[in-house]
């Protein structure tokens, strides 16, 4: 129990005191038990008052303070700092909000506002008397980071993290780094090829001695918390003998008898069972799909020294201080028959077209036919107001238009048609739209309620669209190739990743940050950050921006080797706890574990993980859990305080002070008013005053209007020309 409490009640200029009887409240709490000082102050947040408070605390040896002013969002930390400066633990400070909760909303009923304020203040005083001095929890953290996903976002972030002195484990599920950008030939705006960017990033990674890259690797298990995450990873074998001669490996690749669909080329080509995604793919070691070579005993025998089909997968345990998730996205895969996909032979997706273009350097050929016209249908699998993917995929408009420009640049005489819903080439990307439209690309606008239809008419493929740019005329577009502009969707394994790391996912299955504006890369799990397109659709620049933001946050977090965490967490009363597990079941953060202490099973709270959300406290049947600063006793005392009877008299109003509407109690008029009034005769116009005083017309008009507003002067008809009003003194 605190016994020497200081209470400060703020006027906030007149914001509070105009309605709440602050002076009366100040007197009321003088008599309150344990309140040593109770004051009403003009501005509690003013420097002078803060200094006074420090002095009060020190001179009167106060052990807790209450400031009754505005919202804690505004000044909680101001006054906590005052407490700290005076040598008082900031936990012994309580702020009571009598502005937003009393004077402002109840300005029509001042007495009731005062009664409510009295209740809230008493509740605050009661609460502070149960406050404890708490210290922030200091955690030791390991200066190592797990970066999950070696796409452009992950690779760039890994380099930055490593340069800032962190040990980095960069994990990639595929056997080659680079992710999606390796599949795109020539990127806006730099014009660089995706593969070139991947190669240069990989070179940078190799230069950093503190980055370990794992390819063909997945996360199996995650435990621990901020500062000490224990992550088990599984590294799949490449089945290539590490000592094998490079030439022999190449020969094995060439001679491999088994071919399968090439996933990197989205099934447009075949590849061998010993493969690289593309010739320059990194790391520069091919991968063997051992399953496929099961029956090829002759081949395997021939390359026995090169292949190592008995290689086993490895499980490794890493300990990292923080995790950056950059797992990326999946292309939306149209359903069979969606705009003729898979049912009409010349319907492909945009990513497929991009692969096709790279594979056809001279002429664009698909299914043996040279392509002369391409119709793009936008927003396939995005912006479905009634479907699953309600969001806009953000980058596909730009990507399509960029592809269209590349088509015309690369191949001669290709006509492109763009069947869109809205073109969203924001920012500098608008340059692309400008170029495309000026080069003769034809745009058609459709609405979701009247979707385009792709049909086969004889040998030709027709896109039928109700064109909103041509007064909703039904148009037919004959195209050699129909390209479905597919957006980004969350990766298939996003739910799995989310469960392992406890990252919340949205309805769209993308990972959720805490706050889209203010905590854009942080997740509710301390120490786990997200970057790139695993969070939602982004273009390359935006992906890298967000992953680097995550990298910076992590560097700052791990910099000192320790992390200070808010002490407001759940606490278990070991005597009362009987371990029923209910608290652990409801905890969203898996902060509660069963432990054995003194031969008894009880719940234990992981201080690094608990957020103090409080959900465990009410479910405990033994009432063994409370939350620091929000103890049962404290909260009950607040209720008691609020329910305490208050006597507030209706403020006695001196009849002489009653003023008419619009009048103010003004002890003295400003000098300029006096000057103006002196010049005024029975009836005077503004120009006459200007003439006499030799001051600007605007000034006189302003003050005349103000005086009129406050009833110092009144209008008295118009002059003869009906140009100006006369004013007279009231």
């Amino acid at each position: 129990m605190k016994e020497r409490i200081g209470v400060y009640i703020c006027h906030c200029g007149g914001n509070i005191s105009d309605y709440v009887d602050v002076e009366e409240l100040g007197k009321m709490f003088h008599q309150e038990d344990n309140v040593v000082i109770s004051k009403d102050v003009m501005f509690a947040c003013a420097d002078s008052n803060q200094k006074d408070m420090v002095k009060d605390i020190q001179e009167n040896n106060l052990d807790a303070i209450v400031v009754c002013s505005c919202s804690p969002k505004l000044h909680l930390h101001t006054f906590k700092n005052v407490a700290a400066r005076a040598g008082l633990n900031p936990s012994n400070y309580v702020q009571v909000n009598i502005r937003e909760q009393c004077s402002w909303p109840h300005s029509d009923r001042p007495r009731e506002a005062t009664v409510k304020a009295a209740g809230l203040i008493r509740a605050g005083i009661n609460r502070v008397s149960f406050s404890e001095s708490l210290e922030n929890i200091e955690l030791t953290v390991k200066k190592s980071v797990l970066v999950l996903g070696a796409g452009v976002a992950g690779m760039k972030a890994a380099i930055d993290l490593a340069k800032s002195g962190n040990e980095v484990f960069l994990i990639e599920k595929d056997f080659f780094v680079g992710g999606r950008i390796a599949q795109k030939d020539g990127l806006f705006m730099s014009g660089q090829k995706g593969k070139e960017i991947v190669a240069s990033l990989y070179e940078d990674i190799k230069k950093q001695t503190n980055i370990t890259v794992f390819t063909g690797t997945t996360v199996e298990k995650v435990s621990g918390s901020l500062g000490n995450f224990h992550v088990d990873i599984k590294v799949k074998p490449r089945f290539i003998n590490g000592k094998a001669d490079k030439q022999a490996v190449k020969r094995a690749m060439d001679e491999c008898p088994v071919s399968v669909d090439d996933a990197f080329n989205l099934g447009l080509t075949k590849r061998k069972a010993i493969y690289k995604n593309y010739p320059e793919a990194l790391p520069d070691v091919p991968v063997v799909e051992a399953e496929l070579l099961k029956n090829e005993t002759d081949f395997v025998a021939k390359f026995a020294s090169t292949l190592n089909l008995n290689e086993q997968e490895e499980t490794l345990s890493l300990i990292v201080g923080s995790v950056l998730v950059t797992t990326g996205y999946d292309h939306y895969q149209p359903k069979e028959g969606e705009y003729g996909y898979k049912t009409i032979d010349n319907v492909v997706t945009l990513p497929e077209l991009n692969r096709l273009m790279e594979l056809n350097p001279e002429k664009l050929v698909y299914n043996g036919k040279q392509i002369k016209s391409v119709a793009f249908i936008y927003c396939v699998g995005s912006r479905q107001t009634k479907g699953e993917n309600k969001y806009c995929s953000r980058q596909c408009c730009t990507s399509t238009i960029h592809t269209s420009l590349q088509l015309k640049e690369k191949y001669e005489n290709i006509q492109t048609y763009h069947v869109y819903r809205d073109i969203r080439t924001y920012g500098k990307q608008e340059i692309l739209y400008d170029k495309s439209s000026k080069q003769g690309d034809i745009y058609f606008k459709y609405e979701e309620k009247e979707m385009p239809v792709v049909e086969k008419e004889g040998k030709s493929t027709i896109v039928k669209v109700k064109d909103y740019l041509t007064a909703k005329k039904q148009m037919e577009i004959e195209a050699d190739l129909v390209v479905l502009v597919t957006g980004m969707v969350a990766r298939e394994d996003s739910t799995h990743i989310s469960e392992m790391f406890k990252i919340p996912i949205g309805r769209d299955k993308f990972f959720n940050e805490i706050h889209p504006k203010l905590k854009p890369v942080e997740t509710v799990i301390k120490g786990v950050y997200i970057g790139g397109t695993c969070q939602g659709p982004k273009n390359v620049s935006e992906s890298v921006q967000s992953s680097l933001a995550g990298a910076s946050k992590i560097t700052a977090l791990l910099k000192s080797g320790t992390v200070s965490v808010d002490p407001i967490i759940a606490r278990v009363n070991a005597d009362a706890c009987t371990w029923c597990g209910k608290c652990s079941d409801v905890c969203d953060y898996t902060a509660i574990k069963e432990v054995e202490a003194d031969g008894k099973h009880i719940a234990a709270v992981n201080k690094a993980v608990c957020t103090g959300c409080g959900i465990c406290a009410p479910v405990c049947p033994a009432n063994a859990i409370d939350i620091a600063q929000y103890t049962d006793q404290g909260i009950e005392s607040m209720i008691d305080g609020f329910m305490h009877e208050v006597e507030i008299r209706e403020k006695e109003v001196n009849p002489e002070e009653v003023q008419e509407e619009g009048k103010v109690g003004m002890k003295e008029y400003p000098q300029i008013w006096k000057n103006i009034l002196e010049t005024m005769d029975e009836k005077t116009t503004i120009p006459q005053v200007v003439e006499k005083l030799k001051v600007s017309g605007e000034l006189v008009t302003y003050h005349m209007m103000t005086m009129n507003r406050y009833g110092v002067v009144v209008p008295a008809g118009m002059d003869a020309k009906e140009e100006y009003f006369y004013y007279k003194k009231k």
């Binding site: 016209s373 048609y417 439209s437 003769g440 690309d441 041509t470 577009i477």
Partner: protein, 348 residues
């Protein structure tokens, strides 16, 4: 259901429309146009049709003729798509489509073809002059006869079939039902347009241009009348002689201003002159000037010593009558008048 035809844009570019693919359909052109109405709105619609290559729709449309090219749309266009120039090009294209001989199209699209035609007609006149032994009286007699015959034959062989084709494209093919009575009651629109072009008055800030144009049309038609029916060059009547001077002077003085503004390119409508535009104004100017000079030389009695002046005038006349009138920009004057007439028929 209309099939998109991107080739049309390539074709239209040959008629002078270059930038319309930049259009992003904002509709500022239509909003700013003082002639566009909610019942008949342009140019945006026609830009869209041109982009998509909807030839049938364009052929059936009279809207290109409703535009008098004040150029406001091109000035206001945020994409520099030059809608005004597109409308002009559509008029050229339509002229080519109405013309059953297809020669108009050839003249518009190919400068060499036009030049060849001009050269051939010049050679023809020279051959004729040699055959006539440069006998001035004979030449002037034939010249006068030529005018009357040319007018009559071009009217019947070229214009009548072309107007019927225009009527077919715009009224019959789109299945517009027009009772015969309306053909009679609306005929006033045709004459008003032909002589007064009163719609052009609705263009913003266009009074002076309209007035110039009005004077030029009256001057030109009067000159035609004076030379063909009053036989100005041989006339002895003072009134006819003076009237001829006045109207021929009007023709070349007014065209000086037209040539001048095409050269200065101050207004949007003057910025993108095609060869057909140049031929039209220059030949009109030359015709007025050479006619004026010929009569002047007759009155000064020095034409005998300056036979080449008459040969020049005759060449200009032949080129005008055989190239520019039937296959060049002159036809706009005719088709526009009919377009207004047909529009009136459709409107009722």
């Amino acid at each position: 259901m209309s099939r998109v035809n991107p080739e049309f844009a390539t074709e239209l570019k040959k008629y002078g429309a270059n930038d319309f693919s930049a259009c992003f359909n904002c509709g500022n052109c239509t909003a700013t146009c003082s002639l566009s109405t909610s019942d008949s709105s342009f140019p945006r619609e026609l830009i869209r049709y041109s982009t998509l290559g909807l030839e049938d729709e364009i052929k059936a449309s009279l809207k290109p003729w409703e535009c008098y090219y004040c150029g406001e749309c091109s000035t206001q266009c945020p994409r520099q798509a030059e809608p005004g120039e597109l409308m002009m090009s559509l008029r050229r294209w339509l002229t080519a489509k109405y013309d059953w001989t297809s020669l108009s199209g050839l003249m518009y699209k190919s400068l060499p073809a036009s030049i060849t035609a001009f050269v051939l007609t010049f050679i023809g006149v020279l051959v004729f002059a040699f055959n006539a032994d440069f006998d001035l009286e004979h030449m002037m007699h034939v010249g006068h006869l030529f005018e009357a015959i040319a007018i009559a034959s071009i009217m019947t062989v070229i214009f009548v079939p072309n107007i019927i084709r225009m009527w077919y494209f715009t009224i019959l093919k789109p299945k517009t039902k027009v009772p015969f009575k309306r053909y009679v009651s609306s005929i006033g629109e045709f004459f008003v347009t032909m002589f007064v072009q009163k719609r052009a008055l609705d263009c913003d800030d266009n009074r002076f241009r309209w007035f110039e144009h009005f004077i030029l049309v009256i001057g030109y038609l009067s000159l035609l009348f004076t030379t063909v029916f009053m036989d100005w060059f041989s006339s002895q009547y003072m009134f006819v002689i003076v009237f001829g001077y006045v109207v021929s002077a009007i023709v070349f003085v007014v065209t000086i201003d037209f040539v001048n503004s095409r050269m200065k390119k101050k207004k949007a409508m003057n910025q993108q002159s095609q060869p057909s535009d140049w031929f039209f104004v220059i030949w009109l100017f030359m015709m007025g000037l050479t006619a004026f000079m010929t009569r002047l030389f007759i009155d000064l009695n020095i034409l005998e010593m300056n036979k080449w002046l008459y040969i020049l005038h005759f060449t200009i006349l032949v080129q005008w009558a055989l190239i520019i009138v039937p296959f060049g920009k002159w036809t706009h004057f005719l088709y526009r008048s009919f377009a207004m007439y047909f529009a009136k028929l459709k409107e009722n």
